[in-house]
Subunit: 437 residues, 2 copies
């Protein structure tokens, strides 16, 4: 990277509209206080000239006993983390019962999304299902139509896998330029969870799929009765019927007590509150795979199916909701990368809007169809940065620029935007969503 | 395994005392209803002769819209999971502010312990620390005594690792025979978490440990000011200063905003609310490593230090809190295994009290010093079982019987009980903690 050279200022379009409603962005108010201008050792020396709270004060938490072990049977985050929550955008949809909220990616690290922070998308509100009353039916082109209780399903061999789930509409509002000021909103329709469940193949084998059975229709038990058509090859490959996430029971908003896991494929195929599989000989072309969740091209035609989520990445820190507070010097840039095709092989980071690239450090386990965590540790000189990340997967797929996507697919699309994101980081550490052309 | 032969009934001692106080064991009341006596396909056929809820009823969750995406900014488990909580044992300690509660292992799967269910152990209640006011000091035998803010620490290169934390006293009450009726209580002082933090070595290097500095004293900021002596070799090897667990900020009861991670070593060395490291030339022999957390042997002498947690396993399902509800036929036995020395190479399961063993299936990632998940899928003939598991780690360490431990260390000990656990499973699926001699 050529961070010693004066770089030419790239052509930048700031986000076109300010975030319109109801977003409390904790931390931003303090963004101007950064800039002590030192590497860590000097910063510490400076601190030592001021009264040291370790020496001059007895803090409250030394003076008073806190809660005992009988206080919180199910534990919750610290009161000082109250801003780390899912957030919705009220103007986005007509009703919160058929809407979306967003994962606070800027406040997380590692690859696991905590269950309480996994974004929600539902079409009829969150069903509250009693597991003892829940059933899963398999019917259609099968030898033995079957009805399973939750207990029946738990008798099949279980597996554990870590997969990302990304809504096809993630980053959808960014097709027409920088819109939303925070990676929670631009990229927060993704989460990454360890699922426990049984291979769908085991259940289908128990029912006996007939030779003519080439398609599968999973159906949800909530009032929206989500359905999608899935080719039988995928169903028999790596799909899971999952009942646990990150160790504990599925959360209600994630389909408790049972959801379909369709690794690497778009989120709305992962049917929640799963109650039925119909086996058929052709796709059903239901609402959520025709009028919705298809990609409208520039010439007015639409792609029929776009199942796999392409290679993508985003820098989560710094970002508009998580400015740099410490001034120049030693700095950690971090973010997430994922691909519906497999693992992430490499992530590149640019601080100058894509002119020069350095290879980031991938840390933590590399699971197929799971997010990967990357870091870039460097000394920031305090000058403006145009931060970008670019992921490459193990099949050689390279994350494209947004302009390359627009060239290929026009500007009608909402879904499957895996374009490179740019954050403009100013000398004071604050960051904004911008477009580089 | 010789499950076709009539096995001789082993000599069994039931747990000596019933669980004494305050434990609501959800699910146990229904334990007698099992026993339809069929493999799954037959069970389903039987169900089909009864009214099918999918066909005969419209359930409430189809009729009414549920919560919208603005309802739960930080999500919680289903109301039907209200029994899946940490539980304490009121008679165990004088005060809940210096006590322990237990992870509900019987209700979990996979290897991740959800943050809200990680057992708690504290000595002065849960400190509620404001991260902006928190400091970490390094003093003693160092070139540059330093004080770090939370922000300073986040500027060092970060790593992510999955480690188990086990209290040295886990299973301690079982030294003198089967006592507590549930793996939550016998083995629930363990959790397994993905930590994000920085290598302690980076911080010590920044301060510059002097040649005479051979020991490290971490100190907590809560009123108990927990301290332990750690050899500098371990501190410079794999210890982390962690600020995130399972993706989000540490929970208050786990040391928010900062805790020490001492992979594979006993839990009370993992100092929470971490505020200071002193570097010294010898161990301090403070309270929690002399009068407590040392192993009193039969002859009245005590082991000076017992840091590493030995190879151990437990069957979590079935177990007293999680009986078999479906009767004989296809059955999944599952549990956890771990070793402070490295990875788990193999887990054996016995259904006849240790006479015959089969190799269990290990599933999910195998991380060093992390729990491993095992499964044993088999057809249960409905006869009484004496279930045991036996773990072997990658260094060849084999989990011992409790009697072998008693022979080696007497019956004075509380800590470091890694003996083989037995559950007696009756024909009705109910299970009890027993001892086999």
């Amino acid at each position: 990277m050529s961070d010693d050279k004066n770089i030419e200022k790239p052509k930048v379009s700031a986000r076109r509209s300010a975030l319109k409603a109801g977003l409390k962005l904790g931390g931003l108010a303090a963004a101007g206080t950064a800039g002590s201008g030192a590497i860590i050792k000097s910063a510490v020396a400076a601190d030592q000239s001021k009264p040291d709270p370790l020496i001059t004060e007895i803090q409250d938490w030394n003076r008073y006993m806190g809660d005992g072990v009988d206080s919180n049977p199910y534990g919750l985050p610290s009161k000082f983390e109250s801003e780390v929550v899912r957030r919705d955008v009220a103007w986005l949809t007509a009703d919160a019962k058929s809407s979306v909220n967003f994962t606070p990616l800027h406040a997380l690290d590692g690859i696991i999304t905590p269950n309480g922070l996994c974004f929600e998308r539902h079409h009829g509100g969150v069903a509250q299902i009693a597991p003892s009353d829940h059933r899963l039916m398999i019917n259609g082109l099968v030898d033995h139509p079957l009805v399973f209780t939750m207990e029946d399903i738990a008798r099949f061999p279980r597996e554990n896998h870590t997969y990302f789930l990304e809504c096809a509409a993630n980053s959808g509002m960014e097709w027409r330029g920088a819109q939303l000021n925070g990676c929670q909103f631009t990229h927060g329709m993704v989460h990454n969870v360890v699922y426990t469940g049984v291979k769908l193949k085991h259940l289908l084998d128990e029912a006996g799929v007939k030779a003519r059975g080439k398609w599968l229709l999973p159906e949800g038990a909530d009032p929206a009765h989500m359905t999608r058509s899935i080719p039988i090859e995928k169903a028999l490959d790596d799909c899971l019927v999952a009942f646990k996430m990150n160790g504990e029971a599925l959360r209600p908003e994630q389909g408790y007590p049972l959801r379909l896991v369709v690794p690497g494929w778009e989120g709305n195929m992962w049917v929640k509150w799963l109650r039925r599989f119909e086996v058929g000989d052709q796709p059903w072309h239901h609402r959520e795979e025709t009028s919705k969740y298809t990609d409208l091209l520039a010439d007015g035609r639409a792609r029929r199916f776009t199942w796999e989520m392409d290679v993508k990445s985003v820098i989560t820190n710094p970002s508009p909701q998580a400015p740099i507070m410490h001034g120049k010097g030693r700095t950690v840039i971090t973010g997430l990368a994922w691909s519906g095709h497999g693992t992430i092989k490499r992530v590149d980071v640019s601080t100058d809007g894509g002119r020069n690239w350095v290879t980031a450090r991938l840390d933590g386990p590399s699971f197929s169809k799971s997010v990967h965590r990357f870091y870039y540790d460097f000394d920031w000189d305090g000058r403006d940065m145009y931060l970008q990340s670019r992921a490459i997967d193990n099949h050689g797929n390279i994350q494209p620029t947004k302009n390359a996507l627009r060239l290929a697919r026009g500007e009608n699309s909402i879904y499957h935007n895996n374009g490179i994101q740019t954050w403009h980081v100013r000398g004071d550490g604050s960051a904004e969503n911008v477009e580089i052309s």
